[in-house]
Each structure stands twice: as structure tokens, then as C-alpha cells.
């Protein structure tokens, strides 16, 4: 048998920590968006008995996954700066290069290859940076709302900074409505993110979507 084979390369790009946090965060966002929209507009019908705390349990899930998102947001920021592999940090070089921006934007419009120094392109990097900042803001507003509702324990510990932020934002209603606006950023991001992950995999023959599961990227060897 002498079939011509295209030489493929296997590269380890996502550590186990990155992958686990990615999927935990995906789960947290899914649960938080659904329960969050319920809290904003309780769309389920009333239970047959007042003993079934429908709103209470949904709020409980929202709080649990809210703290999961808070924890991941912090750990993920730490990992970006201090992980052993610099594959994420390397991408910052592309962000500061105008040429890299042009190359990436052209590649999205079917012209030319992706050419990246790290694991992310410049537009991708900036998008993730913005999403991380919005995640931090939705976590902070969420914690402020939490501290305003649960006054003891952890809420009590956070009370002073929460009260300060509430005052800076002009009241609890503002904290609450910004928390709501930020939700939409995630909803729209997820749709674009999934599409781009699938599309770049097909377009550039990368193991794109599976790499966040297996950690490995397979792509044709460069000649």
C-alpha cells in the first residue's frame, strides 16, 4: 500500500486545568443564564403548594453556580499569568502587532492562513479579555447583590465593600440592572464562540473543538 499520507502534527495546547475550568465555566454560564432569566421574570407557574419554594430553589442554584463562576474567574486569571506553559501569554505578542490583526481578520474573510504565535489570534484574545472582564463585573455585581440579601456569614464579611460599591453605582437597582445587562454579553458571546470554534476547525483543518476536551491539537504539518 502506498497511499500518500498528509503528515499531521500533534501539539498539546490546553492543560487539564484549563479544560476542566472551561467546561465548569460553560456549565455555570448555562445554569446562571437560565436561572437568572427566571429571577428577572419568573416564568414558571406557581406550585400547587406554598411549601415548594420554586423561586427559592432556583435562586439557590443561581447562588451556588454564581460562586462557582466567581472562583473560576479568579483561578483562570491566575492561570493566565502563572501557568507553566506560556501558550496563552505568548498570544499577547499578536495583539500588539498590527500585521497579526490584519492576517487574522483576512483569514476570517477566507483570505490566507491563520498565523499565531500562541494559541489565540489577536481578535480572539481581546474578545476573551473582554469576556473575562465582564465575568469579573458580573461576579462583583452578583456578590454585591448577595451581600445585600444575605447579611450574615460570607455576606456579612463582604458587607462593607458591597455597600461602598452600591453607593458608587447609585443604589441597588442600578447594581441589579447592570447585572442583567452583562448577562446578554455572555448569551451573545456563547453563540459566536461556538460558531468560530467549529468554523476555524473546518476552515483551517485544526482539531479545534475537540482540543478543549482532549487538550491536543492535530493539524497538517507545515511544509
Amino acid at each position: 500500500m502506498d497511499t500518500p499520507t498528509v503528515p499531521y502534527e500533534r501539539a498539546f495546547i490546553f492543560s487539564a486545568a484549563i479544560r476542566i475550568f472551561h467546561w465548569l465555566r460553560a456549565l455555570a454560564i448555562l445554569v446562571l443564564v437560565i436561572t437568572g432569566f427566571y429571577i428577572a421574570w419568573p416564568f414558571l407557574v406557581a406550585p400547587s403548594s406554598s411549601d415548594v419554594l420554586v423561586q427559592g430553589w432556583i435562586r439557590f442554584a443561581h447562588i451556588v453556580f454564581g460562586f462557582v463562576l466567581c472562583a473560576i474567574t479568579v483561578v483562570r486569571a491566575y492561570l493566565f499569568f502563572f501557568a507553566k506553559s506560556d501558550i496563552e501569554r505568548r498570544s499577547f505578542k499578536d495583539v500588539t502587532s498590527i500585521k497579526s490583526w490584519i492576517v487574522q481578520l483576512k483569514s476570517y474573510l477566507w483570505m490566507g492562513h491563520l498565523d499565531k504565535k500562541g494559541v489565540y489570534g489577536p481578535l480572539q484574545f481581546v474578545t476573551y479579555l473582554v469576556i473575562s472582564l465582564i465575568a469579573a463585573l458580573i461576579c462583583i455585581t452578583g456578590l454585591v447583590l448577595y451581600a445585600n440579601v444575605y447579611h450574615l456569614g460570607l455576606g456579612g464579611l463582604m458587607w462593607e465593600p458591597a455597600a461602598w460599591i452600591t453607593a458608587q453605582m447609585g443604589g441597588l437597582a442600578q447594581v441589579r440592572i447592570w447585572h442583567h445587562y452583562f448577562t446578554w454579553v455572555f448569551v451573545i458571546f456563547v453563540v459566536i464562540h461556538v460558531y468560530m470554534a467549529v468554523w476555524t476547525g473546518i476552515r483551517f483543518k485544526h482539531n479545534s473543538v475537540d482540543s478543549i476536551v482532549s487538550g491536543y491539537d492535530y493539524h497538517p504539518k507545515k511544509h
Partner: protein
């Protein structure tokens, strides 16, 4: 109990000092109570209730009772700015004069435009005299927002044509303490709603002294009298929250102590006014209750002699005691998430859904184009 003991001693010293001053009224509080048919027993109950409301231990009720009797030693100057007098009404329009309105009558009220007999030059002279005679000692209560645009020209009061801004700044200079009564004086209120052509502001934004903000449109008579009593008793202001509201009154959200809170947790909501849920007393969140974002003691203290309050009457809280409530809490009969955004006349969810739809169309177009795009990859 050490801090309480110290506070008690402070109160005793303060009241001893007040007792040495001459009373302003010929009639004692006791004779006034008799005149209005209020028994000594009612007075003791009231003292205990005020003590509990101020979050003080029961022994302080003797101080409250004594402070009430000595209220005529504390000069109070009450100014009306850009307002509707609803806050004064909240206090004085009781169907039968109770102790709250009686204390307001008994306190040494030096100037109050609604209640005084004087008018014109005479009224002006009374104010000037009071500001001078009690300089550094009077309690200043302000009702209404302060228009600041065009140097405050949108509000001029009295025969001398002074602006409200001028009067408040002048009165604040010699005040021992300043209380903003109601949302307008505290945060600007309706007058400060967008686009706020008169530049209306709360008192604390035009004077550089600590101001106690008693939010509410109106605040309950309990919150006004409680703050007065605290100042009379201790000669200082109570512990304040992030918006300088007394913690004893504004320490918990309306939502926290709402009688319909159980309905909220159970997910039982009124869908529209007059439906079966409304008749059952379900939670008013979906018809716009802003109790979750509003700090006040309405559910526990209520209004008009503890008769009722908005949620008990079947309408959601409008958040009237919060800063910027007219803009922030609109629409009053929709939850915050369904608020129409200014200038867009659409909710955040509509805007989000439109952007999401545009994103989906963009993705679809890109995907279709990708099928036809000439792949140069190998």
C-alpha cells in the same frame, strides 16, 4: 452592654443639660396629652415602641419618655424647598392627633411655613431671628429638593426673594444637625428626574456638612419623629448607612420584611392586577414591586398610624426612598428587567434579542459564504 451603658450615660447628661434650659411652651407635654385624651399608659407604650424602633434596649425607654417631655428645649427650623409638603402632611395629617404628631407640636418649632401663622415680612423676620438666636444649636429639617441651575433662580422664597439655595446654605451654617426629610431633600426626588432642567439636588450636595437622609415619598411619621427623638436624646445623629440614612430605619430592604415574602420564595406571583393571584395575596414582583432594591421599614412600621402600606394595599413598592428613584425604578408596574431603556423605548431583553438575531444572521451568512469560498488550505 458597655457601649449601651456609655450611650445611656451620654443620654442622661444630654437630658440634664436640656432640663436646665428654659422651655419654649407654657404647657408641658403632660397637659397637652391630657387635652388630647392621651393617657399616661399610651405614653409609656409609645416610649417603649420608639425605643424598640431605634434598636435600643428597653431601659432606654425612660430616656425616650424624658426626651419627649424636654422636646420643647430643642429649637427646630423646618424649611420648604422644591416640594409638595407631602412629608409634613405625613406627619401632621393624622385623623386623631397621636403622640407622633403631638411631639412635632411640642418640639420647639421655630419656623415652619405650612404651620406658622406669620406671613410676608413677619415670617422672614421670624426665620432670621431664629437663625441668629439659636445659632449652633438648632436642628435644621429641610423638605424638598434644591434647584441649583442658574444659581438657584428656579426657586425663590419669601418677600426678600432669596433663592432656596441661598437660604439652605445660610441655614446650614449655624445648624447643630441637618435632616433631609423625604426623597426630594435627600436625593433630589422627582424634581431631579431626567432631564432635570432646574438642576435639582439633594441638600447634602449643596452643603458641606453631614446630612441625615430620610428617603421616602413621604417617609413615615415614625422615621421623622424617631430621628428627632434620637437627636433630642443624644445630641448627635444615629448610625448612618451608605446613603446617610439612619440604619435603624433603613437597615433592611422592604423585601426582607415583606408579608408577601413567602409567596415570592414559593414562586407565587400576581400576573396582572385583579387576577386570582392578586386576590390570594401573591407576590407583586411581576407587576413591578421594587421592594428587593429598596431600603426602608415600611413593612414593619407602615403609614398612617400603622394602618397600611403600599404592598398591603395591593400595589408593589415603587422604591420611592431610594436615590434617583423616578428614573431608576420606572416603570413602576414592571420589574426592573422589563424597564424601557431611555431613548430606545425597548427593554434590555429586546435589545439583547435583536443583537442576538443579528449575530445569528451574520453567522449564517458567514457559514454559507464559507461553503462557496475557495479553500486554499491543504
Amino acid at each position: 452592654m458597655d457601649t449601651h451603658a456609655a450611650l445611656y450615660q451620654q443620654g442622661q447628661a444630654r437630658l440634664k443639660m436640656l432640663r436646665s434650659l428654659s422651655p419654649r411652651h407654657a404647657h408641658s407635654l403632660q397637659s397637652k396629652m391630657e387635652e388630647h385624651g392621651i393617657s399616661r399608659r399610651d405614653f409609656m407604650k409609645w416610649s417603649a415602641a420608639v425605643t424598640a424602633m431605634l434598636a435600643l434596649p428597653l431601659p432606654f425607654s425612660t430616656l425616650v419618655a424624658e426626651a419627649a417631655e424636654l422636646a420643647d428645649r430643642v429649637p427646630l427650623i423646618w424649611l420648604h424647598m422644591a416640594e409638595c409638603t407631602g412629608c409634613s402632611e405625613s406627619l401632621v395629617r393624622a385623623d386623631t392627633p397621636n403622640l407622633d404628631s403631638l411631639i412635632f407640636d411640642h418640639v420647639s418649632l421655630e419656623y415652619h411655613e405650612t404651620l406658622m401663622a406669620a406671613a410676608g415680612w413677619q415670617a422672614e423676620e421670624n426665620l432670621e431671628h431664629a437663625l441668629e438666636a439659636y445659632k449652633g444649636n438648632y436642628l435644621l429639617a429641610v423638605e424638598g429638593a434644591i434647584p441649583t441651575a442658574n444659581n438657584g433662580a428656579y426657586l425663590t422664597v419669601g418677600c426678600k426673594g432669596h433663592t432656596g439655595l441661598h437660604i439652605v446654605k445660610h441655614a446650614a451654617e449655624g445648624a447643630a444637625a441637618i435632616i433631609s426629610v423625604g426623597t426630594c431633600a435627600a436625593f433630589g426626588g422627582v424634581q431631579a428626574a431626567a432631564p432635570n432642567p432646574t438642576g435639582a439636588k439633594g441638600v447634602d450636595q449643596v452643603v458641606n456638612k453631614t446630612v441625615v437622609n430620610l428617603g421616602g415619598c413621604p417617609p413615615s411619621e415614625k422615621n421623622i419623629v424617631g430621628t428627632l427623638m434620637y437627636f433630642i436624646m443624644f445630641g448627635q445623629l444615629p448610625a448612618l448607612d451608605m446613603f446617610n440614612r439612619p440604619k435603624w430605619a433603613y437597615g433592611a430592604r422592604v423585601h426582607d420584611n415583606c408579608e408577601r415574602r413567602g409567596r415570592f420564595d414559593a414562586g407565587e406571583f400576581v400576573e396582572e392586577f385583579g387576577d386570582s393571584g392578586a386576590k390570594e395575596g401573591f407576590c407583586l414582583y411581576k407587576v413591578g414591586c421594587k421592594g428587593p432594591y429598596t431600603y426602608n421599614n415600611c413593612p414593619t412600621e407602615r403609614f398612617n398610624h400603622h394602618t397600611s402600606w403600599p404592598v398591603l394595599a395591593g400595589h408593589g413598592c415603587m422604591g420611592c426612598s431610594e436615590p434617583n428613584f423616578w428614573d431608576d425604578m420606572a416603570d413602576f408596574e414592571k420589574p426592573l428587567g422589563r424597564q424601557l431603556l431611555h431613548g430606545l423605548d425597548a427593554t434590555a431583553d429586546t435589545v439583547g434579542a435583536v443583537i442576538l438575531g443579528a449575530t445569528a444572521i451574520g453567522i449564517g451568512a458567514h457559514a454559507v459564504a464559507s461553503v462557496f469560498a475557495n479553500s486554499k488550505e491543504d
